[in-house]
């Protein structure tokens, strides 16, 4: 069972619809027990960093998600949900993130010819040939964001070029982030979600 963490953010239902379409068992929940019992977690997110962290805090989910990550549970952060996995966000002031991955979230630089938000289909280039790097290499996915992640090169699985190299997929062991929306990126996006399910199954297999 995948639990999609439900904290009143925009695209939660679309992530659920994509999982339903793929026949992957899932539920929406904000209950700590269910989150800790799930085989894998998806942290969706649309909107602003500060508000999203406040919403997680309201539901007392920050230590729960941190604990799940520490336990080795596979976690996929999508868009803002990926950004929240990092240490610090600089959107509307400085906000502490979940701190599960090392790095910070900064604005996409303003530059002529590069409108912000970065909105639309952009191509991924694999930096690491793991499961996700292989699927998304040279494939276009749908992005909508104004901020991007800065993290050590070893955590970056794929990047996309938008005046700067934007990390589009990050991974450190059981924790994965996608800056784009796999649930809105057609066939390749669905393949990415299916791969996350396989990561979870491998994880369960290795635990048993």
């Amino acid at each position: 069972m995948i639990t999609v963490i439900d904290y009143d953010t925009g695209n939660t239902l679309n992530v659920k619809k994509a999982l339903d379409y793929l026949g992957i068992p899932n539920e929406l929940s904000a209950e700590p027990d269910k989150i800790l019992a799930a085989d894998g977690l998806i942290l969706p997110g649309v909107g602003a960093f500060q508000k999203a962290m406040a919403a997680l805090d309201d539901r007392q989910l920050i230590p729960v998600i941190q604990q799940a990550a520490n336990n080795g549970k596979p976690i996929l952060g999508i868009c803002l949900g990926m950004q929240l996995l990092f240490e610090t966000g600089y959107e509307f002031g400085t906000t502490a993130g979940l701190g599960i991955l090392p790095g910070s979230v900064i604005p996409i630089p303003k530059k002529a010819g590069f409108k912000v938000p970065h909105m639309g289909w952009n191509q991924n280039t694999a930096q690491r040939r793991n499961a996700f790097g292989t699927i998304f290499d040279q494939k276009s996915t749908y992005f909508v964001h104004s901020y991007y992640v800065q993290t050590a090169a070893k955590n970056i699985v794929a990047t996309t070029d938008y005046s700067v190299q934007i990390p589009s997929i990050v991974q450190q062991n059981n924790v994965i982030g996608m800056q784009f929306h796999p649930e809105k990126s057609g066939a390749v996006g669905l393949a990415g979600l299916k791969t996350f399910k396989e990561v979870i199954e491998d994880e369960r297999f290795s635990r048993n």
């Binding site: 619809k17 994509a18 649309v46 909107g47 409108k115 749908y142 057609g186």
Partner: protein
Amino acid sequence: MLAKRIIPCLDVDHGRVKKGVNFVNLTDVGDPVAIAQAYEQQGADELVFLDITATNEKRKAFTDTIAAVASQVFMPLTVGGGINALEDMQALLKAGADKIALNSAAVHNPDLIRQGAEKFGQQCIVCAIDVRYQPEKDRYQVVINGGRKPTDLDALDWAQTAVSAGAGELLVTSMDCDGTKKGFDLKLYQALTAVVDVPIVASGGCGQISDFTELFKETTVDAGLAASVFHFGTLTIPQVKAELKQNEVPIRE
């Protein structure tokens, strides 16, 4: 490189697609889900659904249509047509829409843009603007109510007002070009891209493949929208993209 987007537009009336979509192998030519799937397979980058139902129970039917499409088609969906309240926006986003297009209601009440952007984020709010050129004043005039009612607004001014209110994208239709198949109004889009820095979707006038190439070569708009040329199969999206690629316009393959 960010790809230039090619967007088919579908008019929906009581849950059925109007304007006689004419795809081969489509048994039910008015089924929004089947049509959306066909366009997804062709490689459309986004779909726009406009609610043209003119009755009171309209919103429910439209929301159901979007929910049905969003459970089968996984690409960005923009919805519009008569949306004038936050509750409508919320219901449509919940149904699976990604962006809400506001048109006449935003002209009557620009604060609606601000409210929507504040609640759902600027990336969710598209300001749809229908314009007509006024030669005697040498300006573009905003027209509302489906192109039937002229206003005093200058389109370039209104575009800037809408963006500062929080619109994250503009969908601008040239009423002069719409239906003519003589190409997009390049001058209009050159003028618009000079005054606002959000993504712009150009609409109206597309009749042949070279119209898209010209649009992306001569202006910095982000997307081209068309309806009948795609619905009637005059052009297919793969054809348009092949031609754009040959002309070094970045597209999603």
